[in-house]
Symmetry: C2
């Protein structure tokens, strides 16, 4: 019966009841946590002016931005004499003024630049909204997906980094993901490492190679560095950093020994020490944090602390973030420093689903009322009204049909309690309550039913 010609665009998804409930569960958990730390919500429009987005994500990014066709007679803006030759790229600015949000960072920067006069700094915001990318769809990569960002701008204090690390830890614990690590680094430590080599100016190039350690191994990295002109003594100096083991404190001790005399390294060490001391109050927190001097993560953007969340149960990171120094420069507002983290909502969802971490409680209705004996329909309906007044989610089968069909429906919907009002019950003023999990059924009067529901179902 269903029409196979109907479809949704590639790379997009419908979220049915169970998925929606679960996504709401994740987002509600995060929202409550953000609020606990004084972060307030921000929502920006799905569409931004195309000029706001263009040029912010590199050449490749520009191509992945979804552009919206101008409405009305948009072709009238395209000179007919040039049309035959015009390229797709050149026609875009003529026929499109708006585009879909590509991430939450640029809209946030745009919001701060636009509202700078009214914002009270430090400005703490979180944002949970979908973004769109005209990417090639593949497993786990979608064209519409939610991002969840938490940022603070207008303060360079490390207390903010400490708060965000706490948020990460409490978030994953609250969601039931106990097995995760927050890798923490500081760009200044990487700069200090570069200072140890003969080519500190090739910092970026060095980091790009180091960042591949997981993929190509130490030998691979050394080969690359050699090809880039780093000397054997540079490789020797860097080598111990590749093999750093032990606790974060032990690593920090080693790094202190090696980098405290470098200009940037010293700054990085002081920041790292302060951050660690802020977090020492909660020993349970420290056990989730791991100093990782090789963590690089979008270095063009980050200027201080860098973080990433990994779990052995997930491919790729569950989140990441760091300190940046110039959020709004692209919009003409200089000197706005900040720090932020983001949560990989889809990866978190997938991991929680794989590990069966979503709450077991009925996601939807708790009580189902059968509707199969015509004389009792009005009473059955009134029963649904008073049960809901107890705050218990309830539905009544709307159509008078055979009981087995209704019980099948209740079972498929995984509704745990069913109330039956047949002829017998109707005549003697009782209710049969069926426990769908145990298969047991009990008769009780109105008072008995109210008492049972109140004691067992009201939370």
């Amino acid at each position: 019966m269903s029409n196979s010609n109907v479809s949704i665009p590639q790379g997009t998804r419908d979220f049915g009841p169970t998925e929606s409930f679960r996504r709401t569960y994740i987002f509600d958990t995060l929202r409550n946590l953000f609020k606990l730390y004084g972060y307030a919500p921000l929502e920006t429009p799905s569409m931004e002016n195309l000029s706001t987005l263009t040029g912010k994500y590199g050449e490749e990014g520009d191509q992945l931005i979804y552009k919206i066709l101008n409405s009305g007679d948009f072709m009238s803006k395209v000179d007919p004499t040039t049309r035959t030759q015009i390229s797709s790229k050149s026609i875009i600015p003529l026929i499109s003024e708006r585009a879909l949000r590509y991430d939450l960072t640029v809209p946030f920067a745009r919001y701060v630049a636009m509202n700078h006069q009214d914002i009270k700094y430090p400005f703490k915001r979180y944002q949970i909204q979908p973004v769109w990318r005209a990417d090639r769809p593949q497993k786990g990569r979608y064209r519409e997906f939610y991002q969840c960002d938490v940022d603070l701008v207008g303060s360079s204090s490390l207390l903010n980094e400490a708060d965000l690390i706490q948020i990460y830890i409490r978030a994953f614990i609250s969601l039931g993901i106990k097995d995760f690590t927050i890798r923490v680094n500081n760009r200044k430590l990487l700069l200090g490492m570069a200072e140890l080599t003969s080519k500190p100016e090739d910092f970026m190039s060095m980091v790009i190679s180091i960042d591949k350690l997981d993929k190509i191994g130490e030998e691979g990295v050394q080969k690359e560095l050699r090809e880039k002109g780093f000397k054997e003594e540079d490789l020797e100096v860097l080598s111990p950093f590749f093999r750093l083991e032990g606790s974060s404190e032990q690593k920090l001790e080693f790094i202190r020994e090696k980098l405290f005399h470098t200009e940037q390294g010293k700054l990085g060490i002081l920041e790292m020490q302060e951050l660690w001391s802020l977090l020492r109050y909660s020993p349970q927190f420290s056990s989730y944090i791991n100093l990782d001097i090789l963590l690089a993560r979008g270095l063009n953007y980050y200027t201080g602390t860098i973080m990433e969340v990994l779990s052995p149960h997930a491919k790729g990171s569950l989140g990441g973030g760091g300190r940046y120094d110039d959020l709004t420069g692209i919009f003409g507002l200089k000197g706005i420093t900040g720090v932020g983290i983001s949560f990989g909502a889809d990866r978190i969802y997938d991991l929680m689903k794989d590990m069966d971490l979503f709450p077991k409680e009925p996601v939807s209705t708790q009580v189902f009322i059968g509707n199969f004996y015509p004389e009792a329909q009005q009473k059955a309906y009134e029963t649904s009204i008073w049960i809901r007044e107890l705050g218990i989610s309830t539905e009544i089968y709307p159509d008078l049909t055979k009981l087995p069909k209704q019980l099948k429906y209740a079972a498929q919907r995984e509704i745990p309690w069913v109330i039956l009002l047949g002829e017998e019950e109707f005549l003697d003023g009782t209710y049969s309550l069926k426990d769908m999990n145990k298969g047991e059924q009990k008769r009780m009067d109105l008072e008995g039913l109210k008492k049972f529901l109140t004691e067992n179902l009201v939370r």
Copy 2:
């Protein structure tokens, strides 16, 4: 400092912290209520295939759909020889395959048609998502706005209408909007009225005129009906319906007298009577419902019950809905009957703001910790950690700056409690707690502070 060149597209909005909190408050209230009635969430992608949307909203609607430019070299699909002449309308299908959701009804119908095999009927879903329309922006009309729909498909029982009316009533009461009316009608009653005239086949035309009663008055309606060829005796027969007053029961009595002998009118009366008797259990509900035989509301779509929510505090309706008989026919799946209501989220927001109905409690942080005495910074930070562990939203001023600046910030953010750890407090192990509303300040030790916060702030 802020850059006035930065802007957002006309007809779109940023929602800052307060607005976002309030919108979340509305949506959470509604979601909890929908769940209480066994409705489950559905989310569909923001973009649908253009072919899914085109032709569903009339010629004018088609023009208001936001089309998304294909990515890549989209112009290669446009034959260079035709380009000079091609109209905007003709080029759209060549360069755009996707479009933004225009409402929630068509995506819902598409979802049902696509997933018909797997859906357990009756299927109860709610959907709260933004939609986009390339409409001319004006006060209260936006190009991006949220819709909130609640529908049930696969059952023709009036129990569903009764549930949805209850949802409406409880929703507005929960939101604090006590002054509202739910106008209820049934298309079959209007059909019955048409049967009384000499031109029952001109039903639609008659209803279109009747629907203007509020705007052009009874005389205006009569003039229009005359021009459409209705006879004087038709106008006489219809006239009493224009002036129907009294309780819904009294109106129903009158309608019964006038229409029970008509084919469609009889069906409408029986439905209306059943609906009223289902709702009689809760007298407080009936007081919000008002039978209005002239309510028309998108008759092309609705086939039975029609509803609309009005409040004297709002221009236009706060919501509306009704029974329809062919949701998915446009997608090749016949015979799917259903009933649904929608909430006008923006109007509800505006009304609640105007009437000051949002909760007074601090929307964000409850406790602010000053950070102005360097030696106490670590202790202040640790204080933020244990207060949050009580479940109290807390922030610490991240930067060591002068106290007055911090107090001003706390006041601007409307944070009600401030904890101060200055030299004196630090040395004798106490905390000063300032009540920002009363301006009072008290010194207490750790135990005293914990006790106070637990007793006064934990909910």
